[in-house]
């Protein structure tokens, strides 16, 4: 092909490329925004139905006797428990650390991971690195004792 003809072709083509690129950008942004809306809707419906709750901690006793017995705390996916307002489950007991322990769900139960040498007991055994708690296990964190209730119906 003649060099001048190629030049004309290529200089026409740059508008074609620019147009395609602009089309890609616009359609992508629109699609991503709609996708984000759908994701938010799904999240909202899940949290309204409470199906994201994997387990519930039932407060059995409190050494300071400041908490109401039988109070429920929901565990949704990975959950941090502690006194600090950064935690997902915030309990204002002086016997807890800022972030006391991390709870996360596994296929065969709930993993309890104490943070920074915090005092955690699962079914009578002091937890070192991690321990697996089952439905009905008692979990002691600081001066608080809980009973674990797994929501079997809900997926992980």
């Amino acid at each position: 092909m003649n060099a001048s003809a190629y030049e004309l072709l290529a200089s026409i083509a740059r508008y074609w490329f620019l147009g395609l690129a602009a089309l890609i950008a616009v359609r992508l942004i629109l699609a991503v925004v709609r996708e984000m809306r759908i994701e938010w809707r799904v999240q909202r419906e899940i949290s309204e139905a409470g199906t994201s709750i994997n387990a519930t901690l039932v407060l059995l006793s409190d050494e300071d006797r400041r908490m109401r017995r039988g109070k429920l705390y929901a565990v949704e996916g990975e959950t941090t428990v502690g006194r600090s307002h950064n935690c997902d489950v915030r309990i204002g007991s002086p016997s807890l650390k800022g972030t006391h322990c991390i709870l996360n769900m596994e296929a065969d139960g709930m993993n309890v991971v104490p943070v920074g040498g915090a005092f955690v007991v699962v079914d009578g055994e002091v937890v070192g690195r991690r321990a697996l708690a089952q439905d009905g296990s008692t979990i002691q964190m600081g001066g608080l004792v809980f009973r674990l209730r797994l929501e079997e119906g809900n997926a992980l």
Binding site: N2, S4, E7, L8, S11, T79, T80, N86, D88
Partner: protein
């Protein structure tokens, strides 16, 4: 997890901000500097294109062909030696010896880098591609006239523009260069001095011409300054070592602000500078474009310099009368004079009238843009009336043009060079205060002697010629 989500959102915001800044900077940098980068001598694309593309013609505002390409693609400059030399700095050369001439700065058009699709379509069967023709705002006859009239044996520069539209009518720099005989300059002692376009890139002490800026600052910051009466005894001790001296040394006696301006009294303006202070004077100067980085579309104009720090009162007083460490570019001073004539609005200078593509379509490139709003219209009016008075009965009577209202100001710039005492530079800036012929001019004659008479005389002749002969664009 709740906290981690918040932190992830913070990271998202930070990234969005980072990339917004990146895109903004990217777009702005290319928009503002693109042509400057493209036309540097280090762009080998231009050199390559010169081999494969027949560059377009360069015409003056009246349609006279100034530069054309011969059949084999080499560039042909005006055959008349005087015309060629008079226009040398405006046109530049293909070698890029004069680095800011039209040949290099407008290369994107001349070599067809910006050619439209229609232009390209006509070139399919051409053996060699042709670039676009560029019509400049320059009036070649006027420019040649300036070269003739410029005092022999003196160097300097002249800038003349239409202060309403921004069209640059003449841009002359001496010593001249000859693009047809570059070998003549190879042995020259000061080669860069020849290649420099003094009108747009030469930095000179402005001398008394700067009193326009001091006056504007005083008018805007000192209410009632017009009605005050000053006394001048010829000298004034600012500090123990530093005296302010008037050129005559005898003193002007009692005088008003207007008289002080028309007689160019250093004592009064030095005192005004002291009264205003460094900050206000700098603010006014910077509003008029000093220390600003000009990014004009058609031409490169170096920035004028108002010192970043003034050491003492003595230097401040001398700065007020245009000495000290001030540096000004002739084109910029012409733009300031134009702003005075244009009610305080400084327009962007334009060098390109239109571009004609290879297919024959003509695209006008003239679009008036405001560069800076320098001062209020009332301040500009007062300064203009003072400058008119200066031409009628003050220091600039030589710049007068019969039958026309001319406003102007002369200047004398002391040059302190280590190589002994030189005669001072002679300055004149001014404008024609008429609707039909809104021309502003700046002239500097290097070592032209004190009093500004050499520059004023030349400016008067050039202005007269411009008023008579320059035709409006788009005829």
């Amino acid at each position: 997890m709740k906290q981690m989500k918040k932190n992830a959102r913070a990271v998202l915001c930070a990234l969005l901000a980072l990339f917004t800044v990146l895109s903004g900077y990217f777009f702005y940098a290319v928009y503002a500097n693109g042509n400057r980068w493209f036309t540097t001598p280090y762009n080998t694309r231009l050199r390559a294109a010169r081999g494969s593309v027949i560059a377009g013609d360069i015409l003056d505002r009246n349609g006279t062909v100034l530069v054309t390409s011969s059949a084999d693609g080499s560039r042909e400059y005006p055959t008349d030696r005087d015309t060629r030399k008079a226009l040398s700095h405006v046109l530049g050369d293909v070698e890029g010896n004069v680095p800011t001439g039209a040949e290099t700065f407008l290369a994107a058009d001349l070599l067809g880098f910006n050619a439209s699709l229609a232009d390209r379509a006509t070139q399919i069967f051409a053996e060699k591609r042709r670039g676009s023709d560029v019509q400049l705002t320059i009036d070649a006859d006027l420019q040649t006239y300036i070269a003739e009239q410029f005092p022999e044996d003196y160097n300097g520069a002249v800038a003349l523009l239409n202060y309403k539209t921004g069209e640059v009518l003449a841009l002359y720099s001496k010593p001249e260069y000859d693009a047809k005989h570059p070998e003549d300059y190879e042995d020259a002692e000061d080669q860069t001095g020849v290649l420099l376009n003094r009108a747009t890139q030469g930095r000179y002490a402005p001398g008394s011409v700067f009193k326009i800026v001091t006056l504007a600052c005083a008018l805007e910051n000192l209410p009632g300054v017009q009605d005050r009466v000053f006394t001048c005894e010829g000298t004034y001790a600012v500090t123990e070592e530093m005296d302010l001296i008037d050129t005559d040394g005898e003193g002007h006696g009692t005088l008003t602000l207007e008289e002080a301006f028309t007689k160019s009294c250093n004592i009064v303006f030095g005192q005004l500078a002291l009264e205003l202070g460094e900050e206000k004077l700098r603010a006014t100067a910077e509003r008029m474009g000093f220390n600003g980085n000009f990014l004009f579309e058609d031409l490169i104009v170096y920035e004028s310099i108002f010192p970043k720090a003034i050491e003492d009162e003595g230097e401040l007083a001398w700065t007020g009368v245009g000495q000290g460490n001030l540096m000004a570019v002739p084109m910029h001073l012409a733009m300031i004079a134009g702003a005075v004539g244009n009610g305080g609005t400084m327009v962007e200078p334009q060098l390109v009238l239109s571009v004609r593509g290879a297919a024959g379509g003509v695209h006008s490139r003239l679009s008036t843009r405001t560069a800076l709003q320098c001062m209020s219209a009332s301040t500009a009016g007062i300064i203009e009336s003072y400058m008119i008075e200066t031409v009628e009965s003050g220091t600039a009577t030589r710049a007068a043009v019969d039958g026309h209202t001319i406003a102007g100001k002369t200047g004398t710039a002391q040059v302190n060079s280590s190589g002994g005492r030189y005669s001072p530079h002679s300055w004149y800036v001014g404008c024609c205060a008429e609707e039909e012929t809104p021309y502003a001019i700046a002239v500097v004659v290097e070592n032209g002697g004190s009093g500004g008479s050499a520059a004023a005389r030349l400016a008067g002749r050039v202005m007269e010629r411009a008023i008579e002969t320059v035709q409006p664009a788009g005829r």
